[in-house]
């Protein structure tokens, strides 16, 4: 069981953000404890990606605050988020197609030689190591990621997020393009990272997977938070009802 007596690792408090007239996220509060996986569920366009982008520094929320380890965090850009050890796997993967896997993995944090030049050989060696763990079939270290399959690209994005020893990991549909074996490896990876005490936000459309991998699930609908539930207290049908109808299950509606 997750110990939720201490201060949460992350607390998103009353976050709102609008694009023009569209309220993409509307007064949403979610928290995350060390060693916990919180699933974010909701229909397409519910606001899941937008919410976590406020944490990863891609967007700035209009109202609300982010707390990391109980302290108010000022995250104005992705660099700030990295300083808080927040790593993100974006739904769009955010890879530079013209660069190879190693260059993408280390983008913004290149290993350098003592002369200050980028050390491509060292970066490729590190990439080979981590890819060996995540996706042993991966061979295309020399080609630009444009030449990779969707799943291979996804494993590069995952490798980038886990390589730098994040404390807070955001995974926006990390297995959308993966085959069954690779999906299984990501599931194992999540379990492993959980044991190391990371907090993980996992956005996923598969309620079975969420029930299996997550401790709690937060459901969003039209930018609003429907509710946060312990996955052991609900059935997959309950989760589906929350996603589709936007109603908390009756036995929990205290």
């Amino acid at each position: 069981m997750i110990d939720r007596s201490g201060t949460p690792l992350v607390e998103l408090r009353d976050i709102s953000i609008a694009f023009g007239g569209v309220k993409a996220v509307d007064h949403v509060s979610v928290d995350l404890y060390p060693g916990e996986v919180v699933g974010l569920l909701g229909h397409n366009g519910a606001g899941k990606s937008t919410l976590i982008k406020c944490l990863s520094g891609a967007y700035r929320q209009d109202t609300g605050d982010v707390f990391v380890n109980g302290e108010k965090a000022n995250i104005a850009n992705p660099r700030d988020a990295r300083d808080y050890n927040i790593e993100t796997i974006y739904q769009t993967l955010a890879l530079a197609d013209n660069l190879d896997a190693a260059s993408n993995l280390f983008l913004g944090r290149e290993l350098t030689t003592s002369f200050g030049f980028v050390d491509d050989a060292a970066m490729e060696a590190e990439t080979r190591k981590i890819m060996g763990r995540l996706n042993p079939n991966f061979r295309k270290f020399g080609s630009p990621v444009k030449a990779l399959s969707g799943g291979q690209r996804q494993s590069v994005a995952i490798a980038r997020a886990v390589y730098f020893q994040a404390k807070i990991l955001i995974m926006d549909e990390p297995t959308a393009a993966l085959g069954p074996q690779e999906t299984q490896m990501v599931a194992e990876l999540i379990q492993e990272l959980k044991k190391d005490g990371l907090g993980i936000f996992l956005i996923d459309h598969d309620v079975h997977q969420v029930k299996e991998l997550c401790d709690r699930a937060a459901v969003m609908k039209n930018g609003e938070l429907v509710g946060v539930v312990d996955v052991d207290d609900v059935t997959t049908d309950d989760l589906l009802a929350m996603i589709i109808a936007g109603k908390r299950p009756e036995h929990l509606a205290a």
């Binding site: 850009n77 530079a96 197609d97 013209n98 660069l99 983008l107 030049f117 980028v118 050989a121 060292a122």
Partner: protein, 430 residues
């Protein structure tokens, strides 16, 4: 890429290229360049490929080639710079005014050894500041580069005019003129020394790259392939030096030199020009720019931003500041190009650098820089500049009318891009 229909011979050839890991695109450009040279050589009864003409071709290319290396970065980051010709003029005007008017007004008179270095620094700083300013407008105020530099095209051309009252400013300082081309060369011995040093540097670079891969236990090319690469590099470098050395200083010029130093020229004395300082400057620029592109974070970020600006931003790269840096580099190179161009003329003229923006962009694009961003090489741009210049001077030598010259150059630009698109489609290369 398995190709069942390929004949054994051609697949074998492909294998050799593959083992050598040679960019076939580069090979294609070199091939085109050779075709152009041979064609003009035939049309001019062998006058095109003389040491004299190759020497002239080289020094005529330098100014545009220097700017083209910077244009690679600009285009790779999905921008464009239409102001380079005008910026060159402003830098050149600043340098000319510094040596003929500003410094003398401060009591530093003509012939003072300080004049050339100060003027050069003024020119480079002018380019850097103006470039950075344009980069700031583009990066931070989000005005499209096309518009900012289209404005710059008019503004800087006329700032140069204003600075000089539209007059030709000259003659320029003697030391300053050394960087113009024929006015300053290394001489034969110096050229051989530089050539040998170049060969050593190339071999060391090839060998240490191999060593790094072995160190990390990555696959490497066979030794013979590396060796062949070194031999080719050495042949190219030394061949180039030999040609430039073979261009002899005219006897009357030598006689005058001997007279000036109060000596009599020995019978049958000859002296080659060797490598011009301006070409050394271009080589230095090319090496530095290639290092930036391949070996520094700045270069990595330039290419990442060109490949996917959003991904670069999300990876924590400050893409706005990057834009400022890219345009500042472009500005510095315009300063250097202005130095070479005005030193070659031995004066600053009001129309210096006119239409250079088109030549520079064409050189970068012919050299394989993709306007969609993310792709381009420094050596490609220099080769592109060389091809453009060869076409232009070749046609002039053959006696093609001026309008036809420009028609051909324009058509070649469009054709080159078409060939590039087809090539990329066919090879599936990026």
């Amino acid at each position: 890429m398995a190709d069942a229909s390929a004949s054994p011979a051609s697949s074998q050839r492909k294998n050799i290229l593959k083992t050598m890991e040679i960019d076939t695109r580069l090979l294609g450009m070199v091939g085109a360049f050779i075709v152009v040279c041979v064609m003009f050589n035939l049309l001019t009864d062998g006058r095109f490929l003389t040491p004299r003409n190759i020497f002239n071709l080289t020094i005529q290319t330098v100014s545009v080639a220097i700017m083209a290396t910077g244009m690679v970065f600009v285009i790779v980051t999905r921008h464009i710079d239409l102001s380079v010709g005008s910026l060159l003029a402003t830098c050149s005007a600043m340098m000319a005014m510094t040596q003929t008017s500003f410094l003398p007004a401060m009591g530093v008179d003509f012939g003072n050894p300080l004049i050339a270095p100060v003027a050069i620094i003024v020119g480079i700083v002018t380019g850097a500041v103006i470039g950075a300013f344009q980069g700031w407008l583009i990066g931070y105020l989000a005005i499209p580069a096309f518009i900012v530099t289209l404005g710059g095209l008019l503004v800087w051309r006329n700032v140069a005019w204003y600075l000089t009252n539209g007059q030709t400013i000259g003659p320029l300082d003697e030391t300053f003129q050394l960087l113009g081309g024929i006015g300053g060369t290394l001489g034969t011995t110096g050229s051989w020394i530089v050539g040998v040093l170049g060969v050593i540097a190339a071999c060391v670079a090839i060998w240490s790259a191999r060593h790094a891969r072995i160190h990390h236990e990555f696959p490497v090319k066979p030794v013979w392939a590396e060796g062949l690469l070194m031999v080719v590099a050495a042949a190219l470098i030394l061949g180039f030096v030999a040609v430039l050395n073979a261009y002899e200083v005219p006897a009357r010029v030598l006689e005058r030199q001997f007279e000036a130093s109060g000596q009599v020229m020995p019978e049958g004395y000859v002296q080659g020009y060797g490598v011009p300082y301006s070409v050394l400057l271009l080589i230095a620029v090319a090496v530095v720019m290639t290092m930036i592109a391949r070996k520094t974070r700045l270069g990595r970020y330039i290419f990442a931003t060109g490949g996917n600006p959003d991904a670069a931003e999300l990876s924590g790269i400050n893409t706005r500041l990057l834009t400022v840096k890219v345009f500042a580099i472009m500005g510095v190179l315009c300063g250097l190009a202005g130095l070479v161009a005005s030193a070659r003329l031995s004066f600053h003229s009001n129309d210096i650098g006119t239409l250079d923006e088109l030549r520079v962009i064409a050189a970068a694009v012919i050299g394989g820089t993709a306007l969609a961003g993310g792709l381009g090489t420094i050596y490609g741009a220099i080769l592109g500049a060389l091809i453009m210049q060869s076409l232009q001077s070749g046609m002039a030598m053959v006696g093609v009318d001026a309008p036809f010259q420009n028609i051909v150059v324009g058509a070649v630009l469009v054709l080159a891009v078409l060939v590039d698109i087809l090539y990329r489609k066919k090879t599936g290369a990026n």
